[in-house]
Amino acid sequence: MTESKRVIVSPKSAPVENNWWVHMILVTVFMIAVIPVLWVVMTAFMTKTQTQVMPPEIFFKPSFNAFGVIVRQFGMLTFMAHSIIIAVASTFFSVTIGTFCAYALARFSFPGKEDVSFWILTNRMMPAVAVILPIFMIFQTFGLLDTFVGIIFLYTAMQLPFVVWMLKGYFEDIPREFEEVALVDGDTWLGAFRKVVLPLMRPSITAASIFVLILSWNEYAFALFLTGTNTRTLPPSVVTFTVSTEVSFDLLGAAAVIIAGPILLFVVFVQKQFVRGLSMGMVR
């Protein structure tokens, strides 16, 4: 009984948040994540000898030699053009087809609907290495090796499940009433889709496009096997000219900067759109 008589009195002011340790953890994680990236960027501006110095130099005189070599000697800009063509085209096709597909799966009920959505997902279940050989042989048979049509077709098929599954959820979040109102107002299904649903979905579709673009841009395994001199994209090209008898870290660094730079800038630029699209369903 005596214990329960102890009275806890409120302090005079609200307790002050004291969570410095959270910041410590965040800083540590940040350092671990960022230092390798920073080091790659630094090597891009070193000469070959500077990259091999032990212990590594943190302060050095930057040079643009490596960039000059990969652009002039190895034709990096051509590969970049290939990358842009392939990434943009496959993004366009996979998002266009995927949007219709996701809408159908979200709105209409038809026999085998669940099977179709699962089958779409299975396309992404196999790791690239498991299917590369058969795909290589198929491409060889149809003469698709080292063609834009072939690799764009493959990337579209590869990104489709992702687009469908991401957008399906967002379509389901849009109340049916939006189309129903349009239908009663005198519109057709397609009209309702175009004029009412698509504008609502724009942020989500944009987010999906950004994601797919990044995935296509960075794809390595298929590009390495299925593209040749005519269509080679950035990621596999890097290996061919930086790794011979030894690894040229200066060239590797410069190539990494050229590959990651545009997409990094792009993401910084569209970040707001991206977050808005991803969080669309949640804030309503």
Partner: protein
């Protein structure tokens, strides 16, 4: 132009029979309510009228035209949904213009008609705003405006005001009623709120279990319910019911149950009904406004215990425990103040004899309507 007639209309979802071959007819310009609890088939019926849902059987005609399996866009009906759906990417003006744009009405005509509707609904000052910047009442008006902007034959409303706050809802009730009478367009309004239905409707169609229970004027529904379901669905607070059996005590028709014995006023129950129901399980009904309370026992009172008193402002709602069943009574506040009765004290209730209803417990059918309604008719 806007008369609706429905013949053996039915809808099944898989094994569930949502609407069971119902018939009804709505006159041109009538304001009709589909009233019932959730899952009674009222919304399904409305959606079949709009064409958003195709019936499994039966026929619907609007203005004499068979529209049973027509697409919504060919029916010329206007609809307002429960969830207030405005196109967030379009301005209020464009939202209102949408039905006209779809019909390829000319620009000048669109501007003229949208202005007109906006003026009627008093939203002409928000035409340039986006839906996100509107208050709940304004966006509801815009949704209604989209229905008014073209000459629809029938207006369909699926609980359009049920999510508004109480004050705005009361305001919109009067406004919608006024608007409907002003425009004279046949209107079907789905609601589960009996107060809404009673206050706005020309006629109410009470539904339950996919079946039309009663289709009549609000007063008729309230005064002469065809069965126990209708009687207890309308009226707030609910009709009091007590389980009784019909007995003849010394030649007097008596309704007796646990702790209750009410002598039936002479002439209330038909002779034939009395003879057919002696000894059967029945339900005695009386509305809370026709129950009185008293401290002292009398010949026509039923003893109970006071359970709770809820002050409602002008009235107090007394809940009395009569042998395990609750009976509610609405007592004027100043009279209620004369009862210094604490909870759990004995109290007596008295039923107004000409406001008693008698129902068949098994079928729910009304066996005897309150006798005051007979008097009113003669």
């Amino acid at each position: 132009m806007g008369a609706v007639s429905v013949d053996k209309l039915g809808k099944t979802f898989g094994a569930m029979n949502a609407v069971k071959a119902i018939d009804f007819a709505i006159g041109d310009g009538e304001f009709v309510f589909f009233l019932g609890p959730s899952g009674c088939g009222k919304t399904t019926t409305l959606r079949m009228l709009s064409g958003l849902l195709m019936p499994t059987g039966g026929q619907i005609s609007i203005g004499g035209r068979d529209v049973t399996y027509l697409h919504p866009r060919h029916r010329n009906v206007g609809m307002v949904f429960q969830q207030n759906v405005l196109y967030g990417h379009l301005s209020v003006f464009e939202n209102l213009a949408y039905p006209l744009r779809v019909r390829r009405v000319s620009g000048t005509e669109i501007r003229k008609r949208v202005r007109e509707v906006a003026r009627t609904l008093q939203i002409d000052d928000v035409l340039t705003r986006m839906p996100g910047q509107l208050s709940a009442g304004q966006s509801q008006r815009v949704a209604i405006g989209r229905m008014l902007v073209r000459d629809a034959d029938v207006f369909l409303m699926d609980e359009p005001i049920s999510h508004l706050d109480a004050k705005l809802r009361a305001h919109m009730r009067a406004e919608l009623r006024h608007l409907q009478k002003q425009l004279g367009v046949t209107t079907v309004f789905v609601s589960h709120d009996q107060l809404e239905a009673m206050s706005m409707a020309d006629r109410i169609m009470v539904m339950e279990g996919g079946v039309v229970q009663q289709f009549a004027t609000p007063q008729e529904i309230f005064d002469r319910p065809v069965n126990l379901f209708v009687a207890s669905f309308v009226g707030e607070p609910h009709l009091n019911t007590l389980d009784v059996t019909l007995e003849l005590r010394d030649g007097v028709v008596t309704l007796a149950g646990r702790g209750v014995a009410v002598a039936a006023p002479p002439g209330w129950i038909d002779e034939t009904v009395v003879r057919a129901n002696i000894g059967r399980d029945l339900a005695l009904g009386v509305r809370p406004e026709h129950v009185d309370v008293a401290i002292a026992a009398a010949a026509d009172t039923i003893p109970g215990k006071l359970y709770a008193i809820e002050p409602l402002g002008a009235e107090d709602l007394f809940t009395v425990d009569v042998s395990g069943r609750f009976v509610q009574a609405r007592i004027a506040a100043d009279r209620a103040a004369t009862f210094p009765t604490p909870v759990r004290d004995p109290i007596h209730v008295r039923f107004a004899p000409d406001h008693l209803y008698l129902f068949d417990k098994e079928t729910g059918r009304t066996l005897a309507q309150a006798s005051f309604t007979k008097r009113r008719r003669s």
